[in-house]
């Protein structure tokens, strides 16, 4: 691996083609995942266990959609068309995690997205915040501030549910499903995007370094919530199985958001009302 370079890239024009392509892939993946995650939060506004948690879901949904919008907009500088990306792609072109393909059935499943997967996205954003690519800086600070509360929401609920054995079991079951996808999401240790962006100082950390940061953030909460078995599984997660990994789309296999999800994230109904 090349040593990390210093200095800064003032604009996309300063990047090489491979760097630009790799960075666009990271930003689009973040945008797509945040757009759909926002919808998943939004689906619990009326179904959350308490009024307060429903309000929190509503706020987190708005946050994620705002982050998605900002991230899609950054892609314009990298030569992509945000309008097309937001509204015209088929499911198979979304760079979204398999965790988000369809609505989650139970509250603990939403908490798994909230505490585990949302943290993956934030660790990735953090690695871009002090990036040598300056146009990203101003856009990610507020985003990370908002994300601190998302993580705290997941933590608070993990602690709450872990007070009873039934709650702890439901939590463990939901978290176990989301654990590996959240860890794999950073990509293979030798992922091409990782080497390109890390060695040029655009992303501060290799995929494995990002995974370690995620573990350092999440494992204490799993332990606090009495999920020590799961915490141990997470720590040994370096032995991840990559056999069905789709590196280009940072997800398991083919597939993508289901038809209902796709129509809503693209805003198909809204757009059918626009008249040119």
């Amino acid at each position: 691996m090349n040593p990390v370079q210093t200095g800064s890239f003032k604009s996309a024009a300063d990047l090489s083609d491979p760097q630009r392509e790799a960075l666009a892939g990271v930003l689009l993946s973040l945008a797509d995942n945040k757009r759909i995650l926002g919808m998943r939060y939004g689906e619990w506004i009326l179904g959350a266990p308490t009024l307060e948690s429903g309000i929190a879901c509503s706020a987190m949904a708005q946050d994620e959609w705002g982050h998605g919008r900002i991230l899609y907009a950054t892609l314009k500088d990298l030569g992509l068309d945000p309008g097309h990306l937001e509204h015209e792609r088929p499911a198979g072109e979304y760079l979204s995690s398999e965790l988000l393909d369809r609505p989650v059935p139970q509250w603990p499943d939403l908490l798994a997205l909230n505490l585990l997967f949302d943290a993956s996205l934030s660790v990735q954003v953090q690695a871009l915040t002090d990036s040598r690519y300056e146009p990203i800086h101003y856009k990610t600070r507020k985003l990370l501030e908002e994300e601190r509360f998302h993580f705290e929401h997941g933590r608070g609920w993990a602690l709450r549910l872990s007070e009873t054995e039934a709650g702890r079991e439901a939590l463990a079951q939901a978290f176990r499903k989301a654990l590996v996808p959240s860890l794999r999401w950073f990509g293979r240790p030798d992922a091409e995007y990782g080497d390109l962006l890390h060695s040029s100082g655009i992303m501060l950390g290799t995929p494995d370094a990002l995974r370690d940061r995620w573990l350092a953030q999440v494992i204490p909460v799993l332990a606090e919530a009495g999920l020590s078995e799961l915490a141990a599984e997470a720590e040994s997660g370096t032995e991840l199985d990559w056999s069905d990994w789709n590196a280009d789309r940072r997800r398991r296999g083919e597939g993508g958001p289901d038809a209902g999800t796709l129509a809503r994230i693209r805003g198909d109904k809204n757009r059918s009302m626009l008249m040119d």
């Binding site: 266990p49 308490t50 009024l51 307060e52 948690s53 309000i55 929190a56 706020a59 987190m60 509360f149 705290e152 929401h153 933590r155 608070g156 609920w157 602690l159 709450r160 007070e163």
Partner: protein, 78 residues
């Protein structure tokens, strides 16, 4: 205010500017301080707060109205 078992009421205080006094701006019901912080921040987001703090209602000691601290009107005796 009705609330679920295992939940406590938390009182929220905030100020918009450093030179402002902290004011009591509202209440949330939460099972722990972690969620009380999140709920307070996300529910009372109408201003850009310089500072916000929360404390469980039962941490307050009434000085004069000992039977009914923090009541907003006579009918409420939470």
């Amino acid at each position: 205010m009705g609330h679920l078992s295992g939940e406590r009421l938390y009182e929220i205080f905030a100020r918009q500017k450093r030179e402002d006094r902290l004011e009591h701006i509202g209440t949330v019901s939460a099972p722990n301080p972690e969620l009380a912080r999140v709920y307070a921040w996300k529910t009372y987001d109408e201003a850009t707060w310089f500072e916000m703090v929360v404390a469980p209602r039962d941490a307050f000691r009434a000085v004069n109205r000992e039977e009914v601290p923090f009541t907003l009107h006579p009918a409420e005796t939470a």
